[in-house]
């Protein structure tokens, strides 16, 4: 889709200043040069920026973007008032929140009208220790606020990708997970910046980078530990049954009950890239479908989806993730298509569990659009939504919302008609993008869980 090039380019541009995500690194010399001009005038008095401050910040594209300060911490090797700041870029999803140095902030643009919530923070919070305590008991919204103020926040606070959660649970969620605990992971060939908080066991909370074994997904805090692990690790593929193989692409089915540790490791890993995933319940009621690219080093996970063994709400997918290095190559759509192929084999309609993330919704809309419009293009005569659902295993509600979003269902003279102008359909299909990787059903050798002994 050409998007790969773009992100590669971004990579290149950002490369000279790796300090962007540098965690607790001491300020670079470049930074020292920059700050005195603007920064010191405001901050030299010993008053660091308050949490909640809005300011412009230089991002990886080297352009200023508006941010809000979420958290701050003292720099270990710095002076008494040297802080770094965890900021949220208000234009972007939370996944881009990061620790930045003072020199990245344009202090001329500081907006001093910090919201009430922050001013009321207890004194203990103002003196943050160098090591951040992640357990936060401060309520998200101060009780002193009027209802009007609350509503205002509710209205302005809803971000893209969260539309399916109500404001209260969203606030709670953000409070718990506002700061990423793990900044980077190493997984196989790639070192990946994480996107979100993940509730790793407390033993791992003092580490900003984790090393994952590519195959069994055990995670460690030091590279040497990983290297020692790799010498003994006997896995070269996910610990389950291969149920699909096409060229170098393989799909494995892993039972969360039989491979609990693997399932849990996968969940910890996936949570780093999924905002609204819950690790609240154990993995034994789920099946994990791991998509791998295989070479002479083993089967490398590119993404996965999980599925409840018995879903009462006819969910055919609980969580879906394509790992960042493999994104925008059609793997996500492959995973979605695969989940529907499984549903077809089960003879059921299915739908993904909600809420969908922004990227997830985009992929699903693309898939639904392609599948439905392909049928509409070829179909002769009338067709009901139910028939479309039976053909595709897509839930009728999803079919309706897709067709309505594309404005293909018109209400005319007291009845609904599907408006399938070939030109319009082609335009929609083009916008939805091509599927890329097709699921070859003949290569799927699989028995539904219920029919497995």
């Amino acid at each position: 889709m050409g998007s790969m090039k773009e992100s590669k380019a971004e990579n290149g541009a950002a490369a000279p200043s790796p300090a962007t995500n540098g965690g607790a690194d001491p300020p670079t010399s470049e930074g020292e040069k920059n700050t005195p001009k603007r920064g010191r005038s405001v901050v030299s008095g010993g008053t660091p920026l308050e949490v909640g401050t809005r300011v412009m910040c230089r991002w990886r594209d080297q352009k200023p973007h508006p941010v809000k300060v979420i958290e701050r911490r003292k720099i270990l090797s710095g002076g008494p008032n040297d802080y770094e700041y965890y900021v949220h870029y208000t234009e972007f999803n939370r996944r881009l929140d990061e620790w930045v140095k003072l020199e990245q902030l344009d202090l001329d643009t500081v907006e001093t009208d910090v919201d009430e919530k922050v001013e009321d923070k207890p004194v203990a919070e103002q003196v943050m220790p160098a090591v951040i305590v992640y357990l936060c008991t401060v309520p998200a919204i101060n009780l002193k606020m009027t209802r009007h103020q609350k509503r205002k926040i509710d209205e302005t606070h809803v971000e893209h990708g969260h539309e399916e959660l109500d404001a209260a649970s969203l606030r709670e969620h953000e409070e718990f997970t506002k700061v990423k605990n793990i900044a980077k992971i190493e997984l196989g060939r790639y070192e990946i910046d994480t996107w979100y908080f993940s509730p790793f066991p407390p033993e791992y909370s003092d580490s900003s980078k984790l090393f994952f074994c590519e195959f069994c997904l055990n995670f460690m805090k030091r590279k040497e530990q990983l290297q020692r692990h790799m010498r003994k690790c006997d896995l070269k593929h996910p610990p389950g049954d291969e149920i699909y193989r096409s060229g170098t692409l393989s799909m494995f089915e892993v039972d969360g009950k039989k491979n609990k540790v693997y399932g849990q490791n996968l969940c910890y890993l996936a949570k780093l890239f999924l905002d609204h995933k819950t690790l609240y319940y154990d993995v034994d009621l789920f099946l994990f479908y791991i998509l791998c690219e295989c070479d002479d080093r083993g089967c490398h996970m590119v993404g996965y989806f999980s599925k409840e063994k018995h879903s009462e709400e006819s969910y055919n997918l609980a969580c879906i993730l394509t790992l960042p290095p493999y994104q925008r190559k059609g793997y996500g759509k492959f995973l979605i298509a695969f989940s529907y192929e499984l549903s077809k084999k089960e003879g059921k309609v299915g739908t993904p569990e909600r809420p969908l993330s922004d990227l997830g919704l985009l992929s699903y809309r693309g898939y639904w659009t392609r599948v439905l419009l392909d049928i509409l293009k070829k179909h002769k005569g009338n067709i009901s939504i139910k028939e479309l659902s039976d053909m595709t295993a897509i839930k009728p509600d999803d079919i309706l919302s897709t067709l309505q979003t594309l404005d293909l269902i018109q209400y005319r003279k007291g009845q609904h008609v599907i408006c399938a102008d070939p030109k319009v359909l082609d335009r929609h299909l083009k916008a939805a993008g091509r599927g890329g990787l097709e699921v070859d059903v003949i290569k799927l050798i699989w028995t539904p869980y219920k029919e497995q002994g």
Partner: protein, 430 residues
């Protein structure tokens, strides 16, 4: 854009929808179509006004790339991971879980362990990290088994998990590893202090999950409360505790009491019914006896009477409500009641239900006559007495005079169901 101001009726998913291939078909129609088609020809992603907010934000997003955090490649990768994998020709089949296979050392040293080992080795090669890993792993497993034997394994993490494994038994079990006892003792002590500090097993898969009612979002992978959810809300409300047990016991007690009361009631009602049946039989017997005696007298007076009465059977008497009662009473009727014709013409059975005869009883009363022969007889109702009716101001409708001056009754009176007095018009042609 008036079209957008109303919401069309909900779409029936079972209804076949026509697929319109050409937009022109629409444009030839009325004006609203034109609006919608121009809208269609605009950017496809501009959602319509009646679409939800969600769809609209999605539409915007298609146009721009969603920025995501970055990644880079690891230089040491090709050294860390060996090129020893080749795909089998058939699909790979899972082996058992690692822990079950046995020999795999599931534990990986953490920072703390490495630091301790470095200090312990002190530049010498006393204990290799691999051996140390194995020892810690085996200690964990042995302790787990010890706790299992002692029956102190908890399904969820409630209290700190104690160390039960003793050094002596550990040394015994680990003999095959041929570790010097002094090293084993150090490792054991280190492991035990680490365990006491952690208050839980250090091996991931042996750590008990948090309890079901724990709400701390940092504790993860709880067991599910129930494998299946109950079907109704009422069932979901019912909890399985002492209170509901007591409640159910109370319910059971009340139900048993109610059952006893009902049983006694049934008995009483049966007695009442038997009593009533007796009374009815007695009455019938009296009536019948009186009536039959009269009939028999009448028959005696009429010579050449063609038929006879049937008392012995009621098999053809099936269209009547009080069938059973008739049967009972005919059968229980002792033959000695009819000494007069028991020996004369009883054998000549006239196929006519006895009821008919009883009904005919009223014919002589003139307007007190039943129209419908099948209508059940009110056995114990008094015949309508025209004089008494007149006393209450109820008069039979006047009979129209006929040609020859005689009075033919045009109405018949009867007592309908529920005791109402009903006058039926007679068929004048009869």
């Amino acid at each position: 854009m008036s079209r957008l101001s109303f919401r069309p009726r909900p779409l029936d998913i079972h209804k076949k929808l026509p697929i319109v291939k050409s937009i022109k078909e629409f444009e030839e129609d009325d004006a609203p179509t034109a609006t919608s088609s121009t809208r269609n020809s605009l950017l496809p992603r501009v959602a319509t006004a009646h679409d939800s907010e969600k769809h609209r934000t999605l539409g915007k997003k298609i146009s721009q790339e969603i920025p995501t955090p970055q990644f880079s490649t690891v230089e040491t990768y090709e050294r860390d991971y060996s090129q020893t994998f080749s795909q089998t020709t058939s699909y790979i089949h899972a082996r058992g879980a690692r822990a079950e296979i046995g020999e795999f050392v599931e534990y990986d040293l953490d920072n703390e362990d490495e630091d301790w080992l470095e200090e312990f080795n002190n530049e010498r090669k006393i204990l290799s990290p691999e051996k140390f890993e194995t020892l810690l792993f085996k200690l964990e497993i042995l302790d787990h088994k010890a706790r299992e034997r002692a029956g102190v394994l908890t399904p969820t993490f409630g209290a700190p998990v104690p160390v039960l494994l003793q050094l002596e038994s550990a040394a015994e079990a680990l003999q095959s590893l041929s570790v010097r006892s002094i090293i084993l003792q150090s490792v054991y002590n280190y492991w035990k202090s680490k365990r006491e500090q952690w208050q839980k097993p250090i091996l991931h898969h042996l750590q008990p999950p948090p309890p079901v009612n724990d709400t701390n979002p940092y504790n993860v992978f709880r067991p599910r409360e129930k494998a299946h959810r109950l079907h109704t809300r009422r069932m979901q409300r019912r909890e399985n505790n002492v209170q509901s047990f007591e409640k159910l016991r109370q319910v059971r007690l009340s139900l048993e009491q109610a059952k006893r009361v009902v049983e006694v009631l049934i008995k009483r009602e049966q007695k009442k019914r038997e009593f009533m049946e007796c009374a009815v039989n007695l009455q019938r017997t009296k009536l019948k006896y009186k009536h039959e005696a009269q009939l028999v007298d009448d028959r005696m007076a009429l010579s050449g009477f063609p038929g006879s009465w049937k008392f012995t059977s009621s098999d053809d008497d099936d269209d009547d409500d009080d069938d059973d009662m008739d049967t009972d009473y005919t059968q229980s009727w002792p033959a000695s009641f009819y000494p007069n014709y028991a020996d004369s013409n009883l054998m000549v059975v006239r196929k006519e239900p006895i009821k008919r005869e009883l009904k005919q009883r009223y014919v002589s009363d003139g307007w007190l006559e039943r129209m419908d022969p099948d209508e059940p007889i009110m056995l114990f109702s008094k015949p309508l007495d025209s004089d008494r009716l007149a006393a209450f101001g109820i008069m039979p409708p006047s009979h129209p005079p006929t040609d020859d001056g005689s009075v033919i009754p045009a109405f018949r009176a009867r007592i309908g169901r529920g005791g109402r007095i009903i006058f039926d018009r007679c068929d004048p042609h009869l």
